[in-house]
Symmetry: C2
Subunit: 182 residues, 2 copies
DNA sequence: CATCGCATGTAATAGGTTACATGATTAT
DNA sequence: ATAATCATGTAACCTATTACATGCGATG
């Protein structure tokens, strides 16, 4: 059920084709919020169009169809966002790994945590650079673009995760013979 | 594929029954890392047992079967955790809502962001209390328990998300007539 | 004229959710 | 006795992934 709102929402930002949307899901959207591929996107777009929540705005070369949300689509998105029964459904392999690593022997746990710290730092560097690029060429309308919003989210999450890993490392070492700080 | 490692990992922490595991998934594990229910857990436990990755440690009243990981199971878990091809598969309805809310009119976006800030603060209060309870009665073995680890993670994530929402609010208001600070 | 990227799809399989189902034990 | 909670399962349906498939248009 969430996929359709993801599509509706992205089309509410700006009209796009299935191909464009596929690319979006390969970026921040897929990384932090909702992962999917073109094999789910195309059938769902057809369904949304049938139901009148989106419509073809333009047909281009190679059978390209650019969709935009209809007023009904916008209403559906809005009511989904304001609707109370929030399902907090989460499925995140990275976090699962994080949690489970401490089921290993302390030595292994510490090794994994250190690897994670390195990865996290690399990710933060990448995002910091991406953000400074985005801020160097702000959009004309002054509106916060989706990518900027998502990059900021990613940056803050990675930082928090890094600090958590550091904390976890401190609380794992006491049990171990190798007691050098991280 | 991840569900089986979630189960294997939880059993590596401590032996448990399908019922116990179901409860675990209703807590922090399901909230931050991987959601599932008893209808997936029982069949998967049977499969894991067939494959020799877990075994029945104890049978109790009402058909209760307590499982524990076998050495092969521990090896499988360890190799999954150390294995390189990390799929960063994420599916998080909350984050999706966060990202999509800015596709609405600025007034609606601001209203949702403010609601989110309130929810986030409530969540942080709850976790802070839960953590101080956990820290008041630390486990005898000095090992960091799963719940403590997960609560700390949740706390830090909620805090980072809150700060992000505050940031987003600041960057959304410029476009709006109602320019009072959050 | 070949290769790469654009652009859309279907089919088979796997994984997940909801509804249905049953029975044992404990607490009131 | 009755209700609540413990404890496990199956079946139907829905959602998601992987493999397969096709053709157009631009670039070299």
């Amino acid at each position: 059920m969430s996929l359709r709102y993801a599509l509706l929402g992205m089309l509410a930002y700006a009209p796009a084709s299935g191909y464009d949307l596929t690319k979006s899901f390969e970026g921040e959207l897929g990384t932090y919020a909702w992962q999917t591929g073109h094999t789910r996107i195309y059938p769902e777009l057809n369904k949304l169009a049938e139901e009148g929540l989106i419509e073809v705005a333009d047909e281009g070369a190679r059978g390209r169809r650019t969709y935009r949300v209809t007023p009904q689509g916008r209403t559906a998105l809005r009511s989904w966002l304001f609707e109370e029964p929030q399902d907090h459904s989460v499925r995140n392999v990275g976090v699962l790994r994080l949690f489970l690593m401490s089921a290993l022997e302390p030595g292994d746990t510490r090794r994994l945590l250190r690897a994670m710290l390195a990865e996290g730092r690399a990710e933060i560097d990448k995002l910091t650079e991406a953000i400074s690029d985005l801020d160097a060429s702000p959009p004309a309308d002054g509106r916060l673009p989706f990518g900027r919003l998502a990059a900021e989210y990613g940056l803050r999450m990675h930082q928090a995760r890094l600090e958590w890993a550091q904390w976890a490392l401190e609380h794992t070492e006491s049990d171990d013979k190798d007691d050098s700080p991280a």
